[in-house]
């Protein structure tokens, strides 16, 4: 049967309402109904399709959130050996919030933010101590990270649920459309936190810790001392220079305050530091390889910005050049157990650092090397 014959057949079958056999009449009627529905209810049908899609993702988010809660409670029971059931306290913890400081007058907002974050940190630590009285410091830090991941999952679920229910209530295409459009990115983040949960609960190194791993590899075997806050420093001879290698104190889940640590070392040396090299994990763009090492200038440190601000203030005061080495990975790799490619990139980063030291400093100079990131599962 050729195409012309098929078209003629379709025309005769589909567009003849009266007459013809019963089958073609039903089919023609169905097509008219379809056209009518598309014309007058097309947007509403689209809205319901979007709602179904969001609902499907919401089921998944709910499952991930519940799993997160369950893993956190199990970890607390196993490690902390509490006398009473920790579930109500964990549920209360998952609802914690932090109000960021008022920035209408931006002068001094960094110090206000730092204070709020310090209060939050102390509150979390106290809460974990109450939840898990038998946990040592490392385990308590890991539990804190586990609870924070569970908290993030709870928050994501609640926000998506809010927009889903709001869209359903108002039947507003624009409310639903907004959430449906960002949903793939939100799901990616939620899945990343889900894989982070077990890593935090078991104390496994995560992708974000690659900066701390580089510092740990450089300082291993040298005498250490603690510097504020929650950081360690080792004096390491590298290529004829004296390097102060800094990282957060491991192996518990901890990022420390590298801003304070760098400031302390600079002030101890009265500003006589010839270069600062910061190493951190950075988000890769799609198409880039996991574990790619790149080099640049500036303070390579994420977070709320307090530490970056402090580092920039101090290096400006003493006019110290600052370089950065980053190891690329995506959000999923950053919070889930460290990938082999990322682990191997630590050695490449060390080679880059040595090259940078040879090119940018003279023999006998003093330098600071700071490995930034969560040091969970990484000792020193």
């Amino acid at each position: 049967m050729n195409i012309a014959a098929v078209l003629a057949l379709l025309q005769s079958q589909f567009f003849q309402f009266p007459g013809g056999d019963i089958f073609s009449q039903i089919l023609t009627f169905a097509i008219y109904i379809f056209i009518f529905l598309s014309l007058f209810y097309g947007q509403r049908i689209q809205l319901h399709i979007m709602l179904r899609e969001v609902e499907g993702s919401l089921y998944k988010l709910k499952y991930i959130r519940d799993e997160g809660r369950r893993i956190a409670i199990e970890a607390i029971k196993e490690v902390g050996k509490p006398q009473t059931d920790p579930t109500p306290r964990v549920d209360r913890f998952l609802e914690y919030f932090t109000i960021s400081p008022q920035s209408l007058d931006p002068a001094g907002v960094v110090w206000k933010l730092e204070h709020i974050l310090d209060v939050r940190d102390t509150r979390f630590k106290d809460e974990v101590r109450l939840l898990a009285p038998s946990a040592d410091e490392t385990q308590a830090n890991n539990l804190e990270n586990t609870l924070e991941a569970a908290m993030a999952l709870n928050y994501i679920y609640k926000v998506i649920r809010h927009y889903f229910l709001l869209g359903k209530k108002t039947l507003s295409l624009y409310v639903i459309m907004q959430i449906q459009m960002i949903l793939p990115l939100v799901m990616r983040e939620a899945e990343a936190y889900a894989s982070a949960l077990k890593a935090f609960a078991y104390g496994q190194p995560i992708g974000d810790g690659v900066g701390a791993l580089v510092a740990a590899k450089l300082m291993h075997g040298y005498p250490l001392r603690k510097v504020p806050k929650d950081c360690v420093v080792a004096t390491v001879p590298i290529e004829g220079r004296t390097a102060y290698v800094i990282k957060a104190e491991g192996p518990g889940g901890n990022v420390g305050k590298p801003g304070d640590a760098i400031k302390t070392i600079i002030e101890e040396n009265e500003g006589k530091i010839s270069n600062i090299i910061m190493i951190d994990a950075a988000l890769k763009l799609e198409g880039e390889d996991v574990g790619e090492v790149a080099e640049g200038v500036g303070a390579a440190i994420g977070g709320p910005g307090v530490d970056q601000f402090k580092i920039e203030e101090t290096i400006l005061k003493y006019r110290i050049p600052i370089n950065a080495v980053i190891i690329k990975e995506d959000i999923g790799d950053a919070v889930s157990p460290m990938r082999k490619e990322v682990f191997e990139a630590a050695d490449k980063a060390i080679e880059r650092i040595k090259q940078l030291i040879l090119e940018r400093t003279k023999e006998g100079d003093k330098i600071i090397i700071c490995g930034v990131g969560n040091t969970i599962g990484i000792g020193q």
Binding site: M1, L9, Q13, D21, F23, L27, G56, Y59, K60, K62, Y63, I64, D66, E67, R69, R70, A194, S195, L197, K198, Y202, G203, Q204, P205, L213, A216, H220, G250, P251, G287, S336, P337, M338, R339, K340, E341, V342, F343, G377, I378, G379, Q380
Partner: protein, 139 residues
């Protein structure tokens, strides 16, 4: 069963409405296929062709939706990837690889070396990811 686990199982189950819709589509599609055979035997080839197309599309669509529902259930599980711990003896270079155990961390001193009895060190903890094949675009 705790509240959390019962809620989790509720989110993994397939809606009975969806299952009913899949079942009805499948029945209608099979009926269309049977009618197509009947129309073919009555030498009404055009009707047989259309019924065959409808029946075939119906079977494909319902099987696809059923498969997707099953895959959604599979995707809902949080998988813990296998983590490898590498232990090394700094003195004789003896290397051992084992599964990650709770309490392991990089640069932790562990059991003595089988060869020289020196304390061994955890030098690596990582997971291996099998890439699903690189996309074919040349960028």
């Amino acid at each position: 069963m705790s509240k959390a686990s019962s809620e989790a199982s509720a989110s993994t189950k397939v809606s009975s409405f969806v299952l009913l819709a899949i079942f009805i589509t499948l029945v209608v599609a099979i009926m269309a296929l049977i009618l197509a055979v009947q129309a073919y035997s009555m030498e009404s080839y055009e009707v047989a062709t259309i019924l065959l197309i409808i029946g075939f599309l119906g079977v494909v669509a319902s099987s696809y939706v059923l498969l997707q529902t099953r895959q959604r259930m599979i995707r809902l599980r949080i998988e813990a990837p296998p983590i490898t711990t590498t232990i090394e003896c700094k003195k004789c270079g003896f290397k051992a690889v084992r599964e990650f155990q709770r309490g392991d961390y990089i640069f932790k001193e562990v059991e003595p070396c089988q060869k020289c009895n020196e304390k061994m060190l955890i030098t690596a903890i990582y997971r291996e990811v099998r890439e699903k094949g690189k996309p074919s675009f040349p960028f």
